[in-house]
């Protein structure tokens, strides 16, 4: 199953019956999958919106009504959704937003890239807000994290972003879906569904009184802290005795892992830390590692973004190198192993 299809199928199995999207390469197969799949399901609604802006606003509406709802796009389209994402956060509306990142800035290209890290983790829209950001690195994980994304979104009433890339969307790998009943969205007591048998409600983000808006901001901030405390996910690979840690996510982490396997065979003590949640970032894990490991190599398919989070986590406690390949370039595990090796010996670790 291709990554794009896996996300679509996982969404459906998570109980998502509403998808609003707009075509953009390299995620069209997801949109197309949802068009087909939701057409087959009773109650399934697929709309090809007139734009990404329209799509994210349809998402807002469907979420207000209590639905599990998803949209997907790729970089330029995600930029257009930023106002809407800010609104989702302000109104505490759950939704799943998929970004199969491509090369940028501008129209860029359709090759796999990781250059929307800042946008995803710092909120490209206006105002203080965060979204949960999940970064899968295999088709199986795309499926698993998509289902998880719906749960997290509902649990915390927060939009959750799946940050993939063109390659993850296009490639096929075997996928297994959990057996049994599809998950049902939890009951929601804040939706607007018509004021039958209860007082009328409204959902809004306008809070004209600065004191009230401030209180709301701190309320959101406390929620983000709760999420940061509870929802950090990462993969640790061969860290037990590592002298150098590669920090990478998504596709880059796959490649880094391949390189590390190779290097381990050659006796280099290198490990991988792969943040699965980009926000919340596994800050404490890194801090702990820095107690015994002095060298970190951050590899990203961009010009240097997550490396800031690594620097923030380590605060000068270890040496950090950055290796970036922006523009949609995918290097081989072999090339990556050369990069690691050279730093490894240069620092006298071998």
């Amino acid at each position: 199953m291709s990554g794009n299809h896996a996300i679509g199928e996982a969404a459906v199995r998570a109980g998502c019956r509403f998808y609003f999207g707009y075509p953009i390469t390299p995620q069209n197969e997801m949109t197309e999958y949802m068009a087909r799949r939701l057409n087959e399901i009773e109650g399934g609604v697929f709309i090809q919106a007139e734009s990404e802006l329209a799509a994210i606003n349809m998402v807002i509406g469907a979420s207000m009504a209590g639905a599990r709802v998803m949209t997907s796009s790729s970089s330029p389209g995600i930029s257009l959704k930023q106002e809407g994402i800010s609104f989702l956060c302000a109104m505490e509306l759950p939704a799943v937003i998929v970004n199969m990142t491509r090369g940028g800035p501008g129209l860029g290209n359709i090759a796999p890239a990781q250059s929307d890290y800042f946008q995803a983790t710092r909120g490209g829209g206006h105002g203080d807000y965060r979204t949960i950001v999940l970064a899968p690195s295999s088709v199986q994980e795309l499926a698993d994290l998509t289902m998880e994304a719906f749960n997290l979104a509902d649990k915390y009433r927060i939009p959750t972003v799946i940050l993939g890339d063109g390659m993850l969307g296009q490639m096929m790998e075997p996928v297994e879906f959990p057996d049994g009943e599809m998950q049902k969205p939890p009951p929601k007591d804040w939706t607007i569904t018509g004021a039958r048998g209860r007082p009328s409600r409204f959902i809004r983000s306008l809070l004209l009184d600065p004191a009230v808006e401030e209180e709301h901001n701190w309320k959101l901030a406390r929620k983000y802290e709760r999420i940061a405390a509870k929802e950090v996910r990462y993969e640790a690979y061969r860290l037990e005795d590592a002298k150098m840690v590669v920090v990478s996510f998504g596709t880059a982490a796959r490649i880094a892992k391949g390189a590390i396997k190779r290097l381990r065979e050659q006796g280099l003590k290198v490990g991988l830390l792969r943040p699965i949640t980009l926000w919340p970032f596994p800050e404490i894990v890194l801090k702990d590692l820095a107690k015994r490991i002095g060298h970190f190599l951050v590899y990203e398919m961009n010009a240097g973004q997550m490396v800031e989070d690594v620097r923030l986590a380590l605060e000068g406690r270890a040496e950090i190198f950055f290796y970036g390949r922006p523009g949609g370039v995918v290097i081989t595990p072999l090339e990556m192993s050369r990069v690691i090796t050279s730093k490894y010996y240069q620092k006298g670790l071998g």
Binding site: E50, A54, G194, F202
Partner: protein, 249 residues
């Protein structure tokens, strides 16, 4: 034989005084919508989508469920709501800037898809909330803060007849233009709103009522003058009447 109350506050409005300026059409239109909701028994079924615009706080007034839309995106947001809850009555309430400038695409495509939603489009010829800038519907010669000396065709373009454009879409079922600048027009506006809601409930497609509405503050006129101004300056460009009715055509 005693006296009976024949006119009072509709139930679908909360007991909150409006924040609108004296003589503002928004207030009247709010009441008309609420009266129709009362009369059609829709208070528990109706969901409203307020705009960014003078009516941004509409949820303080309407005693029904409401969900705020980003500026201009009412029709898209309402689409999402309605698709999840097809048996509810979903309407947006939008100003001319909201619907005919930034929201042009969303409105046209919702109409074209035949979304079963109703749009109440309040055309006051100006950006009221932001302090009187030129709107897509500002008429030629009308002075606003961004059309110094009056709207000028070459420099500023023309007033836009969005409702007529929407009528061209095959998904729109009912479109009428009314006004709230005298008692007769006010009554007609109420009828139009009722009809639009019925069209939605019957699943015929997209319905819209454009209401020409006085904005005394930005016209810098007293309310009674503003009523006349709407008659004399807007109605040529935006003629009243049913623009489309699939049940009649």
């Amino acid at each position: 034989m005693g006296f009976q109350k024949v006119f009072g506050r509709p139930r679908a409005l909360k007991d909150a005084p409006f924040h609108y300026c004296p003589g503002c059409g928004h207030s009247i239109i709010h009441r008309l919508i609420a009266e129709v909701i009362d009369e059609m028994g829709l208070q528990e079924k109706a969901i409203g989508v307020p705009p960014a615009g003078c009516a941004v706080l509409a949820y303080y007034y309407f005693d029904i469920d409401m969900g705020e839309a980003p500026h201009g995106r009412g029709a898209a947001l309402a689409t999402g709501l309605k698709r999840v809850l097809p048996d509810r009555l979903v309407f947006t309430y939008q100003g001319d800037g909201d619907i005919a400038a930034i929201g042009t695409a969303e409105t046209i495509h919702a109409a074209n898809r035949g979304e079963r939603i109703t749009v109440i489009f309040v055309n006051n010829g100006v950006y009221g909330m932001t302090g009187g800038q030129m709107a897509p519907t500002t008429v030629l010669g009308q002075e606003t803060t961004t059309s110094p000396g009056g709207r000028e065709r070459i420099r500023d373009g023309f007033p836009l007849n969005l409702s007529e454009m929407l009528a061209l879409t095959k998904g729109s079922a009912y479109i009428e233009r009314t006004a709230v600048n005298n008692p007769k027009n006010i009554m007609k506006t109420k009828k139009a709103i009722e009809k639009a809601f019925r069209v939605q409930i019957e699943g015929l497609g997209f319905s819209l009522v454009e209401v020409l509405s006085p904005c005394p503050t930005n016209l810098k006129l007293r309310p009674v003058e503003a009523w006349r101004w709407v008659e004399e300056n807007m109605m040529d460009v935006f003629p009243l009447g049913v623009i489309k009715d699939v049940q009649r055509d």
